[in-house]
């Protein structure tokens, strides 16, 4: 085995002990494999030495999924090639990539139709030539942090603003190749292998048969990225999407593209109070079918944004928001014809005026230039909060991001929002809330000023996780559970179902080496 691949973690690699959750971990060694074979070699080596492995993409995750506790870090950022393209009988286009490919670069390549096809098969090249002649396509999952890797997106079943219409990453994964903990490999393809009730059988590339009994829990009736995807007669591939790196190491992914809508317009709607914004969202949801995103920002989020704008040169280009405005709802219209888009605008205007808003308090973007400005505005909110946390962390290293990622079914939106606000005010905490209100999925961020705030925040988080579960929601709707939310996963499903999940993992990873700490703590079984 070529030992140049595995490096000791000293000063040089210190940054690889952290991710966007702002937690810092520990590890002894790190590797940056460039091929699937190298991954297999490294995994076999670790398996024989029983060294735990933490898998990393771009480390943009928010749940500490990529933060190691000990052992080896397997960083896949150099496994980043785009391998080929195919088309099916229904004229759907698919691209095969390696997990380290970065989302923003992939999106750019699709838009410009610029792929490095020099190593592609003849078939792929032919498909690519046709692809260049077709109408524009896109890869629809759109997490806010576009420097994420595709592998990371698959691991946590990432979603973004447009998942309101298009769904999460899961829907667009057609095929996966994984390396299992002992170095054996597994290929799963959508539509080729279904469970029988809750019994699933997989066959590895070496020919080993693996049988599972899938956990019996029912997944929530809302946007969900919490724990393993399981349901009766499920497609085998879905077990591995959103598995947070606990079942295997993804080395190849095939994704499906969609045709880009002809018309994409963005509208930011400003309200003088939050209640009007929420009423507006419910009306829009009932009446309009062409809405691809529905995002919400509360007054605290707007305030933090304003403050950061004053201090950070990177935010100079953010437009100013009228002082009177206390919340904003961002809608995105996706349609094929301009007159449909205009009629949507007219409906939005009517609903806004009847929701105690004013249709003049809106910003409309009808082209890429304008859309980029609105997107920049939306992304600046979480960025600003992160910066605030970083500053506070300098004074007090215990402080980290304390943001929720919970969703509830439609009918409970107003109720949870009221609960969040009431509790925060009662405990006198600082907070900012924003998110995918269309999916009833808001990120409530508590901004701890000191350790006391932080501890109270954690308790509130647990309380909310219980309530959200009661209401039939999910404790992690898109960020994944990672390490930071494993205790909430337990709240959501209960120890028995967690044990069932551990059983699945143990079947595929008997030495429990892959991503220890992600999803659940292994070794803590109920007696």
């Amino acid at each position: 085995m070529n030992n140049n691949i595995i490096h000791c973690i000293k000063e040089d690699y210190v940054e690889y002990l952290r991710d966007e959750s702002r937690t810092i971990g520990k590890a002894e060694s790190i590797s940056f494999p460039k091929t699937g074979e190298e991954v297999i070699d490294i995994v076999k080596d670790m398996y024989s030495k029983e060294v735990p492995i933490t898998i990393q993409g771009a480390r943009t995750g928010l749940a500490a999924g990529a933060v190691p506790r000990k052992g080896h870090v397997l960083n896949l950022s150099k496994l980043n090639n785009i391998l080929g393209m195919r088309v099916d009988e229904e004229d759907n286009y698919y691209v095969t990539l390696q997990p380290g490919a970065i989302l923003s670069q992939f999106k750019e390549k699709i838009k410009l139709r610029k792929f490095d096809t020099s190593n592609w098969s003849f078939e792929s090249k032919k498909v690519f030539n046709n692809f260049c002649k077709k109408e524009e396509m896109f890869f629809s999952p759109d997490p806010t942090e576009t420097s994420a890797t595709i592998g990371g997106m698959v691991s946590c079943n990432a979603s973004g603003a447009r998942s309101y219409m298009y769904g999460p990453t899961r829907k667009y994964i057609e095929k996966l190749k994984l390396v299992l903990s002992d170095g054996d490999t597994l290929t799963v393809e959508r539509g080729k292998n279904f469970a029988d009730g809750r019994k699933l059988v997989l066959k590895t590339d070496k020919g080993m048969n693996i049988e599972f009994v899938l956990p019996k829990y029912l997944m929530p009736n809302s946007k969900n990225a919490s724990g393993y995807y399981v349901e009766d007669n499920m497609d085998a591939i879905d077990l591995f999407i959103g598995a947070d790196g606990t079942l295997g190491i993804i080395t190849e992914i095939e994704v499906r593209l969609l045709k880009l809508p002809e018309i994409i317009w963005g509208v930011s709607c400003f309200f003088e109070n939050e209640a009007s914004a929420i009423g507006f969202v419910e009306e829009i949801r009932r009446n309009l079918k062409d809405i691809a995103s529905m995002e919400f920002f509360d007054k605290n989020a707007l305030y933090i944004l304003k403050k950061q704008k004053e201090r950070n040169p990177g935010f100079e280009r953010l437009p100013d928001v009228d002082e009177k405005m206390k919340s904003v709802v961002y809608l995105e219209i996706h349609t094929e014809e301009e007159k449909v888009a205009l009629s949507n605008l007219e409906k939005i205007s009517k609903i806004m005026n009847s929701s105690k808003g004013k249709s003049k308090d809106t910003w409309v973007a009808k082209n890429d230039v304008g859309l980029n400005r609105l997107i920049f505005f939306r992304h600046a909110v979480p960025e600003s909060v992160n910066m605030l946390i970083d500053e506070r962390k300098k004074e007090n290293s215990k402080i980290t991001k304390l943001g929720t990622d919970m969703s509830v079914p439609d009918e409970h939106l107003e109720e949870v929002i009221k609960m969040y606000k009431k509790d925060i005010i009662k405990e006198n905490l600082e907070s900012a809330t924003w998110g995918h209100i269309g999916d009833n999925h808001l990120h409530v961020n508590i901004l701890p000023r000191d350790n006391k705030d932080y501890d109270i925040g954690l308790k509130l988080y647990e309380k909310w996780a219980k309530k959200v579960t009661e209401l039939g929601g999910a404790v992690s709707a898109e960020h994944g559970v990672g390490k930071l939310k494993s205790k909430y996963l337990k709240v959501m499903y209960g120890q028995n179902h967690i044990d069932e999940m551990v059983d699945i993992k143990s079947t595929l990873d008997p030495k429990l080496l892959l991503s220890p700490g992600n999803l659940f703590e292994v070794g803590k079984r109920s007696e």
């Binding site: 610029k114 260049c132 509208v267 437009p319 100013d320 205009l342 249709s359 409309v364 082209n367 609105l374």
Partner: protein, 259 residues
């Protein structure tokens, strides 16, 4: 005060790609937008109109489809638009374009202030402003970073020079070209978009402008493009080798050449 803002319709992206089979240049002209630099001029005009009473007219020379960007201009606050469109305007370089625009402004008549963006993102020449001012025989000021005071017959503004800044004052009529970041161009509201659908956009052609045929379009263009090509992008970097001494020597000499 009567303000004319000159706007140009440009493709929303400058990306140029090659058709992999034929190796020819394909431009994806799917979306057309107002030249971003012109949006600053437009915003400045609207701000002036909001401060002192006035009228803002968006003016453009382009294909019939350019009417859309004039409506976009109305949606953010311009009062009306004028499109100069005619087959015989095709092929115009900056001189012919400046002449044609000057005819439009003469037709609007009694214009106090003309605002232009610094340059167009597809042509990048930054020539229209001064050439248009010459056609109208009025003074022009470029690189305006801030308009400080405006009254019906006088303007005070700050400009950026090679060595620093200047504060200048002049009587109207005058033409100003404004810099990026002089303001934050607003996006239209829903009301603005809906109202712009039936805004007044008048289309003028060579005849209605009484244009001199030898000054417009291809005939009126002293310059012509003889060829276009995609520049060779060095995708591979040149590697500098040797021991540290040699490397640093070589790096220093590259730097010397570049600076």
């Amino acid at each position: 005060m009567k303000i004319v803002v000159c706007v140009k319709q440009v493709p929303s992206t400058n990306e140029v790609r090659l058709d992999p089979e034929t190796n020819t240049i394909i431009r994806d002209g799917k979306q057309s937008v107002i030249n971003p630099f012109d949006t600053y001029a437009l915003e400045e005009g609207i701000k002036i109109k909001e401060k002192i009473q006035g009228e803002v007219i968006a003016l453009s020379m382009g294909i019939p489809a350019a009417e859309k960007i004039l409506r976009d201009a109305v949606s953010v606050g311009a009062d009306r638009g004028m499109l100069l469109s005619d087959r015989s305007f095709a092929g115009a370089d900056t001189l012919a374009t400046a002449y044609t625009l000057s005819l439009g402004i003469r037709k609007i008549s009694e214009v106090d202030l003309i605002l232009c963006g610094k340059m167009a993102v597809d042509g990048d020449t930054a020539q229209i402003g001064p050439e248009l001012a010459e056609n109208l025989k009025i003074p022009h000021i470029t690189n305006v970073s801030e308009i400080i005071e405006v009254s019906d017959n006088e303007i005070t503004c700050r400009t950026i020079t090679e060595t620093g800044k200047r504060l200048v004052k002049t009587k109207t009529p005058v033409l100003l070209t404004v810099l990026k970041d002089i303001n934050m161009p607003r996006l239209p509201s829903i009301d603005g978009v809906i109202n712009s659908l039936d805004a007044s956009v008048i289309v003028e052609n060579a005849e209605s402008l009484r244009a001199n045929k030898s000054y417009i379009g291809l005939s009126g263009s002293p310059t012509q493009v003889v060829k276009t090509y995609i520049p060779e992008r060095k995708n591979e970097s040149i590697e500098i080798e040797g021991d540290s001494e040699t490397k640093s020597e070589k790096i220093n000499s590259v730097i010397k050449e570049v600076i």
